[in-house]
Each structure stands twice: as structure tokens, then as C-alpha cells.
Amino acid sequence: MITHTARPLRIVLYEGRGAIPLPPEARARVLAALLDKGYAVSRVGSSGGAAARANDDHTLLVLGAFETGLAPEVEDAEGRVSIQARDISGLEADGVLSLVEQARGVRPMNEPGRWKPWFPVIDYSRCTNCMQCLSFCLFDVYGVSADNKIQVQNNDNCKTNCPACSRVCPEVAIMFPKYQGGPINGDEVSAADHGREKMKVDISSLLGGDIYAALKDRSAAAKSRFSKERSPDKALDERKKCLTKLVSDGFIPMDVLASLPSPDEILRKAEEAKAKAAAALAAQG
């Protein structure tokens, strides 16, 4: 589980006492420029705001068009946070962004465009803890909590644009918020969605039979063939063939196939996942 977040600055656009409010259009442009670069921004007007709450960031950067034309010296009374202030009088949005980037310096930060936040989100109001997702996913995205509840444990293992686990969930409880269509994107689940065949895919039917048996057969066949051919390309081809139906049914994007483990590894992972799911279900009584 990822517990860190690379966000070195907390930004406050200060337009309260002592600062001249930006024209609304300029304010919107500044905010959009900073947000599109990945920064979070608190806009604080004369009524104050949430920026006064405690925060975990090490550096608070206060931006404002200060009446004196100079950024004030500010410090955290508790000494926990380093506070910097910058005067942005007369600057356009790109100038403000440059100023912020200078303040950040070489400290790394998550930025849009480098990565898509693609991972399953469980709707626990629908989830029945059946563990089908855990049994299905070959990338160890799912795990079981100390109290035997299914949970998403390894976001980063999820394959971008692959919503296959949401389609095997019999309760339509798995969402991918960045998916285009509903109800996978989080849209309300209709009775039709719930009843739709594609939403109730039994894992065993995905390859027209028992997926694990099918994989096992193909693994054996592939092993025999690989031993003669010893070609990594052939091995990859075999894996692709093995899951062609998943792709043709739209359950797995093509590029996910290239990152699938070997057939033997798939079998091993499947067995592990099944055991984990069985143990959790047994513990539930």
C-alpha cells in the first residue's frame, strides 16, 4: 500500500486583509494553471477559510497581491511548518506558476500526465465480501484486512484501463472512477445493470469453462512447446492466445496482456488468491 504522497507545497491564494483581490478572471486562470500542474490550492478571501486548519505539509506557500507590493514575513507560531510568502502583483497565471515552481525547487511532486490514477474503488454499501475479485485478479491488487474484509491493497499493481475485476463482481460494487461508462465509473447501479449478464460473469465461464483448468491445460501445452522452441516470443504469444477471449469480450485491454505473468505464475497466483479468499470466507463463518 502506498502511504506517501509527493506534494512538497501547500499553496494558499490569499486575498484577505492586506492583499488586493485579483480580478475574478485572473483568479480563475491562476487557480487553473496551478491545479493543472498538480498543486492543491486554498483560496482564502476576506471571510477566512480552511487554510487555517492544521496541515501535514512541510511548506506553506502564500501567494497574494499584497498592498505594500512586498510579501510579508510569516512564520508558524508552533514552528511546525515553514511558511513562505510571494507577492504576485501584476503577474499573469504563467508567471505565478513559475514563481511556485521556483519555490518548489528540485523537490519531486506527482504531476498530471505522468500517470493515470487507475485502481479499483470498492463500494462497501454493495460489496458482500464474496472475494470473487480477490480470486480473479492476477496482480495482487486485492487483499484481506485484519477483520477479513476485502480491500484494495496494492493500487499500483492495477493495470491501467483494465476494469476486468469490476465485471466479475456480482454486486457491481467495484468502480473505476476514471472509466468512461457507467456504472463502472461510479454512476448509480440500475436494476438492468445488476441483472445484465456481463455484470454477473462467473470466473469459470470466462474461457468457456474453468479458467484455471483452461490455463493449466494451456500451461502444459505451452511448457511442452516452449521446451522445444525456447522462444520468449512464442511464450508471450501463448499467453496472449490463452486469454484471447478475455480480450475479445472487452474484459482486458490488449496492453495488459503483455504484462501478464507466465502461465505457471498465473496458476500459482490463482491458487494463492483462492486460498486467501477461502481462508477469509471461512473466518467469516
Partner: protein, 116 residues
């Protein structure tokens, strides 16, 4: 804890599934309102990294969020260990018009528009 709702705007900057016109218009109208508000680049990105700021926001009292599907937003906060209070209002910029979003966001905003 203040009775004034905390307004939160999500830019959906990492995947652009919220229509650009709607999110720009909502930001513009928020900016014109003069209200104080929180804005984040992407709630999904924050949830993926269990950003502790989500806990801060969930604990901020009454919350009004302009983002995407309410079921997804609640799930994101929950998954990040920061479940939203039942009374949080979630406004869906993927399906609603900007005017609907901002009128719901600013329904009782007492701050007059700020002009320079």
C-alpha cells in the same frame, strides 16, 4: 468547527474525465463568487496515495464537493481511510451543468462577490 460549509473543487487533472467546459465554468463562477474554497488537482490521485489531506477535509464539518459521481467520491474517501460524513453534498460535474453545480455549491454563501 464552523457552520459555513467547506467548498471543495476537484480539477480531475490526471485523466480529464470531467468535461473541460463544465469544470472551467464552475471554477470561473467560484472565483467570481468571492467565496473561500479548497481546490485539488485530482481526488483520485490523492486517494491513490492515501493523501492525509483527505482526512482533514472529511473532518472539516459540512462539506460540499464539486467532483464526479457521488458513489465514486464516497468510495475514494473511504478507501483513503477518510470516510465522508453522511451529510456531505457531492455535485457531479460529469453529468450536471455548471450553473446547477455552482448554484448548489454557493446556495448559502454569505460572502459577496469580490471585485478589485
Amino acid at each position: 468547527m464552523s457552520d459555513t460549509p467547506t467548498l471543495l473543487y476537484c480539477r480531475c487533472a490526471y485523466a480529464q474525465v470531467v468535461p473541460t467546459g463544465v469544470k472551467n465554468e464552475v471554477l470561473q463562477q467560484l472565483s467570481e463568487s468571492g467565496a473561500s474554497f479548497e481546490s485539488v488537482a485530482d481526488l483520485c490521485e490523492m486517494a491513490a496515495h492515501r493523501d492525509p489531506r483527505l482526512k482533514e477535509l472529511a473532518a472539516a464539518g459540512k462539506l460540499r464537493i464539486a467532483a464526479c459521481y457521488p458513489r465514486a467520491v464516497r468510495g475514494l474517501f473511504h478507501q483513503a481511510g477518510a470516510p465522508l460524513p453522511e451529510d456531505a453534498d457531492i455535485l457531479n460535474m460529469r453529468t450536471a451543468q455548471a450553473a446547477e453545480i455552482t448554484s448548489a455549491l454557493l446556495v448559502d454563501a454569505s460572502t459577496p462577490p469580490v471585485t478589485p
